[in-house]
Amino acid sequence: MDAEPRSSGDWRAALPAARGWWLIAAFLTLIALLNFGVRMADYLAAGKQVPWLRILVQELTAGWLILPLLVPVLIWIRRFPLQRSNWLRRLPLHLAGSVAFGVLHTLGIWSSRLGLYALFGWGRYEYGRMPYRFVMEYQKQVVAYALIYAVVAVLASLRRRREEALRTAELEHRLTEARLEALRHQLNPHFLFNTLNTVSAFVHDDPGGAETMIARLSDLLRSSLETGSKQEVTLARELATLDIYLDIVRTRFESLEVAIDVPESVRGFLVPTLLLQPLVENAVSHNDQPGRLRVSVRARAERDTLRLEVADDGRGIGAGAAGMPAVGVGLSNTQERLRRLYGDRYRFELADRAGGGLAVRIALPLRRPAEAATEAPR
């Protein structure tokens, strides 16, 4: 059981909402009435006269007194959840917790009955020898404590599962969006019609070249139409997809230079699906400088971090026409996906380069496909 709270300082989060309190009160009343029935039957079976009002008062005080005691108990349980790694060390804490709960509950029962007996004029309440009473009541109280712990743990696990499902759904949504964004770019009339124009340029003089362009364009469209839900692929696969796109734009623009600087040793690590292609497209399609455009893609592994950089020598963030930043909408989706996939274990930054141009730098946790299967990213 690992009901580790997100922030143990927030004790209010351990407590149920108003409706929860009503439900608990109803449940305790029900238990009290059942106990009342048991004791009534016991008296009747023994053929004794039944002091039913006193029994009812006794059972209801015992049941309802649990309500105020639930506040410290729930906070205690949330503060020290039992986990696979620490349950042996934490078990004594809960033993102590259940004892404290028991002592307070028994004292509560005793003092409240003293008061109520006086109130109803039933004479002085006699609870017998207290040490034995504590032991007697504790046997039920420890079961109650364990039951409370179990309910809290089950509810927490249900909530976690629901959150996990939400997170997965959100990730899938973002991936779909990334695919749509890639598709939108490929179906962007400028990209599509210019590419088709290149094909038609080859038709007369270079039928083989025309055939190749048509095949590449089809590969590219297919890659973004694929609706797989794999959130991450190896860097090698991501580079292969990027290569299809680059094949097309390199044919169209001889002034485009793309340098892929990714050592073989890091190509087996995982990156989010469709991470690189939008970044490179962004550099190419927002280029506003006549002449040569250089785009570089770099990847390095540094201890437990995978560092990626896509840089160009175009116009950078600040210098777009009419002050528009040279950054596409696709980038915000990329960032959102990184956040959902890696929580706070990623870095994403845009920087103007010293010599002009834009650099996108991303740092990710270093993971291989096998590790991803065992250790779910958080």
Partner: protein, 252 residues
């Protein structure tokens, strides 16, 4: 006599496609190729072609800015070539300017080529080009930057950097963040091509960038002075007062 042609496109395959079509269509002589707008301006001025096939979207100067830099009256016959451009297409239709949509086939090329030669015979289409540029704002395409020529040097000034435009004979002087610059145009022609939500006339010979106005200071007899973000002052003439102060009734 063969027609002297210049081909402007940032993609080499696109240029060789045009060369192929021209070779088959004749009578044409490709006198040059340019891969970006600046090279196109230089080539048009140096080679004086009869017809230019002009790509609309290019890095650096786009097709329209090439015309601005050269001056529409000095342009050869233009056949625009574009893959897609909403406003441009509408404007082409309105002014009946020649254009080719990529990708095109032999038949479409032949038609555009025939029309280009007809317009060459009629003595070019300078007036149509001027109307085309003036009409672009109607298609929702206001000027986003101005082409400034300083001899051979061509710079693009984003309109956001401009504080004020002042009429100056056949020229308009721009007050920008990076100093003054001059463009060969009239103030009213520029005004019609700039976004009216951003630029307002404050005087017969002055246009200001509203984003750059810091305050309006009352002057004598209900006149005002416009203070820009660099502290410079210009008179707000009564005729244009309502543009900055709203409610025209009040200014009567």
């Amino acid at each position: 006599m063969s027609v002297r042609v210049l081909i402007v496109d940032d993609e080499r395959p696109a240029r060789s496609k045009l060369r192929g079509h021209l070779a088959r269509a004749g009578p044409a002589e490709v006198v040059g190729e340019a891969a970006d707008g600046e090279a196109a301006v230089r080539a048009i001025e140096a080679l004086a072609p009869d017809v230019v096939f002009l790509d609309v979207r290019m890095p650096g100067l786009d097709g329209f800015e090439v015309i601005d830099a050269v001056g529409s009256e000095r342009m050869p016959v233009v056949v625009f070539v574009t893959a897609y451009d909403r406003y441009a297409l509408d404007a082409f239709e309105v002014e009946a300017v020649d254009y080719l949509l990529k990708p095109y086939d032999e038949e479409r090329f032949q038609r555009a080529w025939r029309r280009a030669r007809e317009s060459l015979d009629r003595g070019g289409g300078a007036a149509r080009l001027a109307r085309l540029l003036a009409g672009l704002p109607r298609q929702g395409r206001f000027l986003e930057r101005l082409v400034v020529r300083n001899g051979e040097r061509i710079t693009l000034v984003p309109v956001t950097r401009i504080r004020r435009l002042s009429a100056d004979g056949n020229y308009v002087t721009l007050d920008t963040e990076n100093g003054k610059a001059r463009v060969r145009d009239t103030l009213s022609r520029l005004e019609s091509r700039l976004d009216p939500a951003r630029f307002a006339r404050i005087h017969r010979s002055t246009l200001v960038n509203l984003d750059r106005v810091r305050e309006l200071t009352p002057w004598s007899h209900g006149d005002y002075v416009v203070v820009l973000d660099d502290g410079s002052r210009s008179r707000l003439s009564r005729r244009y007062r309502h543009r900055l102060l709203g409610d025209p009734e009040e200014t009567r």
